[in-house]
Symmetry: C3
């Protein structure tokens, strides 16, 4: 029995990973799906990357979690990289699922200039947050689901604190130098990043030695096929 902690993507909360967590629990494991600071209901949208990372470090500490298989999705890759830097003694393996793998000093904006990528359609709000427009979500993020699933999923998203995309991460070792098990899950139909700047191998190759797990599916397999995602996570997380 292993302990999984799943760190969600931008615009999500931990709740959206619950169907996936259920499938992993059914196989006998413990699974936690905390929500990162900035995405919790009522959180100020001025939260930055350091606070976001700290919220998951605190979650591990307060819950006395050890030997954790720590997964990050998309933006969650920034978070788990930071957590593994702060409390490496609590982490057994890092799993990136179509996630950013930053080196020290990099921001999401450095790796994926989101204004240029999503351009004029990205809604910037007065409270410091940004929101994906629905057409981008439907066509490029959740391309493998039917319209009803895409709409329902969009309805539960929350606008995301932009500061977490601009802040540069501060870590002592780059991921390649971290002495931990590392895996990269690549959903092969993910078009959230453009094909000339793909998740894999662009980010996976920053891990040094790592285990590749691939599965059909979009960036949002947690909505379109949580069972298949759960299997990929267990294949990536096992020793």
């Amino acid at each position: 029995m292993a302990t999984y902690v799943l760190a969600h993507d931008a615009w999500h909360t931990g709740k959206e990973l619950e169907p996936t967590a259920s499938s992993i629990r059914a196989a006998g494991h413990r699974v936690h799906t905390p929500t990162i600071a900035g995405n919790r209901p009522g959180d100020p949208k001025t939260v930055g990357l350091e606070d976001a990372i700290k919220s998951i470090v605190d979650y591990l500490t307060e819950n006395k979690l050890e030997d954790v298989i720590l997964l990050g999705h998309g933006y969650g890759g920034m978070i788990v990289t930071g957590v593994a830097d702060r409390v490496p003694e609590r982490v057994r393996r890092l799993v990136y699922w179509n996630a950013f793998v930053p080196n020290n000093g990099q921001s999401i904006n450095d790796m994926a200039p989101y204004i240029a990528l999503f351009g004029p359609t990205l809604a910037q709000r007065d409270d410091g947050s940004i929101m994906l427009p629905f057409p981008t979500w439907r066509e490029e993020f959740i391309n493998d689901a039917d319209l009803e699933t895409a709409q329902k999923a969009y309805g539960v998203l929350n606008s995301h604190p932009e500061k977490t995309f601009v802040d540069k991460i501060s870590i002592r070792n780059n991921p390649a130098g971290m002495q931990l098990g590392k895996s990269y899950i690549n959903c092969t139909d993910d078009t959230a990043l453009p094909d000339r700047q793909p998740w894999h191998p662009r980010f996976s190759q920053r891990l040094g030695q790592f285990r590749l797990v691939q599965t059909p599916g979009s960036h949002e397999l947690c909505f379109s096929n949580p069972k298949r995602l759960a299997q990929a996570i267990m294949d990536a997380g096992r020793d």
Copy 2:
């Protein structure tokens, strides 16, 4: 219930898409499989690209088809791009299946110099048509089928009017600028184009915002697994 119009590849007729159409109809949709001018029994092989496009424009008009999900396969990508330019008001979504996506002024020969690609083995005939040699068909087009299926399928092909490969398309807007839903189906084992000039992302990225649907299979999935192709088409065609 949606209305699908499937535009076949070079060397094919609409009839070869009937098993795929049946599966889509079984899911409750209307499906049309017209044959493009130049590939109909008895058509002169001197037909050019403009006449080929016009034949499908006429088909939509004569059958009063509206809100059409218009799919093109291979060469059929030239046709549906032209049709969407001529009668955009009849098209709901363009779906390209391992298909050419031309910008204004381009020919198939510009995008895939077929003499160089298929070389001395390509049979050029006196009537203005060209024919794929069987070994190319068997190894590079229908690599996922058994020999009997490959032979039977080859037996129903017709020699293709070369002029449609050389004529440059004339469209008012390039596909990226067309205000329509757009999808690209990529059969991941398609080797009809060489790997250094692949269908996806080389042509798909010309669409601007589009939905990617991938499935295992060769360029000729309509013969090797029409049910799987039908599912991919419905995943690509839905709103």
Copy 3:
């Protein structure tokens, strides 16, 4: 009924291909799984590439095998290329499974500088052999299996004669010029070679006209899913 001869990878013997062979036999074919010189129990680890090739040429000759579908895995690609050069009259089709495809005068070290790739973790032994370290095996070779399968499989490996990696192959025609059927099986999750130097299309495109067969799986699908591998081999091997 066809005749298959399966040439294993470095560190393996023919015995590890027996579960795969059983599945192919169950479909009605004859399958041979000889062990290449240098990997047989008791073989000196000073064996070079020429002797390794010769051992399979001898196997075909002694067993009077003709019309052979000859498969090579990884390093086995060197062997089958050499065998097809020596006794082309016995070979019906060459099948490469995530395998090296050498041109005349090339060694494995030329195509994959293994010291640089596996670096300080590669164990070089006094008897002239080298051995993969377990973490490389588990994470990069057999990433799709559970730990128990990975450990059991590692336990049956034998240390490999380094000379076969350094010797340059001598062939009259490069594979593209060989007048034989050719197929390439690509396991899409294979990370034994780094992503910037992948098996496919880097080596497959050296074959000239070839048939591509792809399947999910790691470099060691013979352990993780021999049935699926058997199906891929039959899809690649049929006429």
